[in-house]
Symmetry: C2
Subunit: 314 residues, 2 copies
């Protein structure tokens, strides 16, 4: 018998599972959400909430999953809320906007963006995944309050997971932006390409990345973005892993790609530097991936995964 089509040489069967925000066990019932779901959930005592003020999650004494009592004083906007899913026990999880400023916070309570929650390890596993989904849907709702076709207000449908224009009746669906993020490998010289953006931690380098454009394959997006940012021409592209990235609603598509050239001519509007790193340098940098003076993207970031898996691959 031939080897299974699912046997690959990769160091993990599914590296996506090893990225932050990826684990989410809620039942989304995406084909079966009904108009009444949200009202029903709001009437039940076991329903819990993720609450956001201007994109920042309310974290009360370390808890991000909140009760109605936790949030009712902050004018929760239930007219523009959404069910993100149900637990195994049938308990609903709802994402909702609240009105709350930093100054109003009680001691021990925080307003944090999903990036800080992840990089400070405040949540992990399933709860971090649910938070990502809640943050992305909340951001999408807040940018879809009006219809882009005609400018009229939209109203929630399907438990808040869709929205419909009150003027032209167009249905709006959640938005997810695909981004390619790629580790470019110069196999002959056993090295990889990383750049640094001016807003990175001061010593950190990471893999290149960019939005997939309309009318483009994943592989072509990898080649275009790499060439635009670094001047390096890319040949073969191999998908490796993906990661939900809720800033605000991105799907990171992680690839390993083959450098056909070695002369770097980087885009100085985008990058502060871009250079080749040996296997040994990468191994050393990955040991310093936490905190403000980190040298590489933190554990859980798909860039970290691409780098570590390249080291482990061969």
């Amino acid at each position: 018998m031939s080897p299974s089509i699912f046997e690959t040489s990769a160091p993990h069967d599914e590296p996506s599972r090893l990225t932050a925000f990826a684990i989410n066990t809620l039942d989304r019932r995406s084909e079966h959400r009904t108009e009444g779901d949200l009202q029903e959930a709001l009437s039940k005592s076991d329903t819990l909430f993720f609450a956001f003020s201007k994109g920042n999650a309310l974290v009360k004494q370390g808890r991000s999953l909140l009760t109605l009592k936790d949030i009712e004083q902050f004018e929760p906007d239930f007219d523009n809320a959404a069910i993100i899913g149900w637990t195994n026990e049938g308990s609903a999880r709802v994402t909702v906007s609240i009105k709350l400023d930093e100054e109003q916070l009680k001691e021990g309570d925080q307003l944090l963006n999903p990036r800080s929650i992840y990089s400070n390890n405040l949540l992990t596993g399933d709860l971090l995944g649910q938070l990502a989904q809640a943050a992305s849907i909340n951001a999408w709702i807040n940018s879809t309050l009006f219809c882009g076709v005609c400018g009229h207000k939209t109203k929630p449908r399907a438990g808040g997971y869709n929205r419909q224009c009150t003027g032209c009746e167009k249905l709006h669906f959640p938005r997810t932006d695909p981004v390619v993020i790629m580790l470019i490998i110069d196999e002959k010289n056993d090295r990889c390409l990383m750049g640094r953006s001016p807003h990175f931690a001061t010593q950190m380098y990471s893999t290149l990345a960019g939005f997939v454009e309309p009318g483009e394959t994943i592989e072509d997006a990898v080649r275009r973005e790499t060439f635009e940012e670094s001047g390096i021409k890319v040949g073969r592209v191999r998908y490796h892993a993906s990661q939900p990235w809720p800033m605000p609603h991105t799907l990171m598509i992680g690839c390993i790609a083959e450098a056909l050239t070695t002369e770097i001519d980087y885009d100085s509007e985008e990058l502060e530097d871009c250079r080749w790193f040996s296997r040994e340098e990468v191994a050393e940098r990955l040991k310093h991936s936490e905190g403000e003076d980190r040298l590489s993207p933190p554990k859980g970031a798909i860039a970290h995964r691409l780098l570590q898996d390249w080291l482990d691959w061969t």
Copy 2:
């Protein structure tokens, strides 16, 4: 020396290249589009246009790439046009909306959606890819004429490739919707899963597919959609190929996935039927992939690619 990280057992190095709409050699200059690009392009005689009326492309005597003279009588909306890219010779390509009804068409001219253009082989290769990009950007512009945050009008930026709200100044970027499309394999019994949607050609079956949701990896989207549509539980997922699909602005992400169960319980709201197909049945069906009475998705469709490559793989 170990084998290259880019050596896989797949029957093609890059099956994405073999899908319709995938080839597009325009230089997008995505990081370097400037405000004046569109005005400059409109003043040059070598600039050519893709023109759309309600999402349908004007095809004049078989040509989809049109001159200013071809379209000027149809009130081209240059205030909401966009440059999609430049040829190697530096000639710009612009996507623009026009006002034109079926009744106004001269003999030999047509208004066609991208799907018909592709399935009738009216365009191929690079021009089909450019048309896909033009159609997707045109659709995005027409659904982003108003700001979703505040309802004010938007205006074009960066040669039309971005839009900015005239009220709250929010920048809007082109939208691309990631969709997973998957061939589910029961390796032990050497068969694969296909379903038929009520709107398919009457004898046709194809692979299952669905939108990636916010806060979800590609692999989890494959498992969720497969379970929701067919009741089959999926284990390992292997990315295979991607395809731009301009109806209106989708990125098809094609995967091969491992069935862990064999008992089908399909969603009768979505599907008319769903069943297992042997390797021999698939081979026979792929011979009949053209025309109204086709048995399988047409060549160029990523579903066709997944099926053919499964046959060729082992």
